[in-house]
């Protein structure tokens, strides 16, 4: 029996955002857009959902007078991703045994 997977991370784009941030810890909106291939509107909506859940922090700043949106994983986000991955792993382990 495996634990239920976090429904917030069962969306392709949200999971991609979280996976990317697990490697780079912090990145800007445009890099996330390139890396995930998402549209700006969609990416923005999914980032807001992750932010509401407390998984990521969003900081709006400036770089050479251009607005820069930085996204960073929070401790709760790292924990949620690790739990999600551990649950996924236990699912495949159970499947292998079965």
């Amino acid at each position: 029996m495996f634990n239920e997977l976090d429904p917030l991370l069962l969306s392709q784009l949200r999971l991609a955002i979280m996976s990317h941030l697990m490697v780079v810890r912090q990145t800007d909106f445009n890099t996330l857009k390139t890396q995930t291939g998402a549209t700006a509107g969609n990416l923005s909506a999914q980032i807001s959902k992750l932010q509401e859940a407390g998984y990521i922090e969003v900081e709006k700043t400036f770089n050479n007078n251009y607005p820069l949106t930085l996204c960073k994983l929070t401790a709760a986000g790292i924990e949620a991703f690790e739990a999600f991955y551990a649950n996924l792993k236990s699912y495949f382990d159970a499947e292998d045994k079965g």
Partner: protein, 197 residues
């Protein structure tokens, strides 16, 4: 990425994680600045030390190395500070580890220098072993084979030093730095430029 609200099954979730992480890892690149900076400084310091010691017979020939540190350390720190300021998104886990490896190298290098001066032996072979160690880990973190090759060059040079005297050690170190540090540095720099165009 289409259909973002689609509920993923476990297989799809694992695929998304794997693909995204692979893509993120490949986006991590260094431009070789530090390898070129320190590579040239070490080569120049080796030649200067050799010239001052062997040709001019100046007793304080080691000043070449102090000059290297005085030029190199502020340049490297200012470069990193400006890079971080220019683009705060450049920080990532791999670069974090990369920085820690070279910090540990710096501390070890300082201790090796103190210990070898006290023991009155040539520090060069020990420095080459340490440089090889840090270069090997950097190459593994960045998945950059020329740096692994560079590490092997440093280790081979350390063995060659066993057969030579202190003054020749400096020439071996200069050659090893060109082959094991500057060559990978220039390849890295060329690759980073091509990706940015």
């Amino acid at each position: 990425m289409e259909n973002d609200e689609k509920i993923l099954n476990p297989q799809e979730s694992l695929r998304v994680i794997r693909e995204t992480i692979d893509l993120a890892k490949n986006s991590i690149r260094e431009n070789g600045f530090h390898f070129l900076l320190w590579g040239w400084l070490v080569v120049l310091a080796c030649i200067a030390d050799y010239y001052l010691d062997v040709v001019v017979q100046y007793p304080n020939h080691f000043l070449a190395w102090i000059a290297m540190a005085v030029i190199g350390l502020p340049t490297a720190l200012i470069y990193e500070w400006r890079r971080e300021k220019k683009d705060p998104s450049t920080f990532n886990t791999i670069r974090g580890w990369y920085g820690r490896v070279w910090l540990a190298f710096g501390i070890s290098l300082f201790l090796v220098l103190v210990l070898t001066v006290r023991a009155q032996v040539s520090p060069v072979p020990y420095i080459l072993v340490l440089v090889g160690f840090a270069t090997f880990i950097s190459g593994s973190l960045l998945r950059f084979a020329p740096l692994i090759f560079g590490a092997v060059v440093m280790w081979v040079a350390a063995i060659i030093c066993m057969m030579l005297g202190y003054q020749e050690h400096l020439l071996v170190q200069a050659l090893a730095t060109v082959a094991g540090y500057l060559v990978p540095g220039y390849i890295m720099s060329a690759k980073a430029r091509n990706k940015h165009v």
